[in-house]
Symmetry: C2
Subunit: 162 residues, 2 copies
DNA sequence: AGTGACGTTGCAATATATTTGCACGCATCA
DNA sequence: TGATGCGTGCAAATATATTGCAACGTCACT
């Protein structure tokens, strides 16, 4: 019952802790405790709870794509032909498992999918389109946009109130 | 000279470490060491180097937006009227500082910006459009798309080879 | 009001992880 | 050949995370 996060009664302490962890999750619990006025063990137990109930989904390092050669970010809007449950599931699967697809959203509106992709060269991207889009009978159309500036990136979620 | 990551000669050890850290950066150095065949101190020194040269940009917790009430993901394509350096910089600034804007890309093509936004209600979104788009004389047009399924999210970058 | 169950807290002790000092190995290059 | 630089592992030192425990508050029910 506590796998996907339904309701979570997060108090101000939890929210404050989450704010810090979203910025830097290597912050020592002692320091977090000082910041939120709680003891380190208390912080630790709250973090554990947040992890167990799925509020904290992951703890990750964010790396610079350029440093591993992924210099180009492209955005792709994909429109499919038929929207059956099976075909949509198959499309989700194929996009999600492609290493160059960093993010994939199933959307309303004209298009059906929106992808954020990281590639090393445009040649690599073109190659990918052959398998990902042209190779998929159910893809009607796709529109590619190249990113000039990654103005703001990340997974941070700001709290509704503050 | 080592602020923004230009060249980085990452060897197989570094890449293997980054793969692990991108999945779970709470993995003990000892465990990482066992996985990549290196001692814990060596792993630690490599991680420090990767952080110093900007390969590792951040260490963060990823939280479930729903758990803090941000239940709706919307994608927005924004087209501006005039593309002067100053006006573009101003737009970047206003998008980047908006808490509900999780990601912002400056793009080629018909539109000029692409935003990933997290909001609690559509009413909240509508309110935001008043300040962010309608309130900006330089915004010609914006197109809103609502996300039905966050199929794949995250900031992970897969290595070009493997 | 009294009482018991429950949940959370802080402190102190313990376990675990990170960081540093040091000597060694292995390249490159004069 | 010998000096230098860089990275390594081991072991010790340091810092951090985790757990046991007693105490406190809240709530429901007597």
């Amino acid at each position: 019952m506590s796998s996907s996060t339904g309701r979570s009664d997060l108090d101000q302490f939890d929210l404050a802790i989450l704010d810090i962890l979203q910025r830097d999750n290597t912050t020592p619990q002692r320091v977090i405790g000082e910041a939120v006025n709680l003891s380190a063990p208390s912080v630790q137990r709250r973090i554990r709870r947040l992890e167990e109930c799925g509020v904290i989904e992951a703890n990750v390092s964010v790396i610079n794509p350029v440093s591993v050669g992924r210099t180009i970010t492209v955005l792709v809007e994909v429109e499919v032909i038929t929207e059956t449950v099976e075909l949509i599931a198959a499309a989700k699967q194929s996009f999600a498992t492609c290493p160059q697809v960093q993010q994939c959203y199933y959307i309303t509106g004209n298009a059906d999918f929106f992808l954020v992709m990281l590639v090393s060269t445009m040649a690599e991207y073109e190659e990918l389109t052959k398998t990902l889009f042209f190779g998929n009978n159910n893809v009607k159309r796709f529109r590619t946009t190249v990113v000039m500036d990654r103005v703001k990136t990340g997974m941070a979620v700001s709290r509704p109130d503050a």
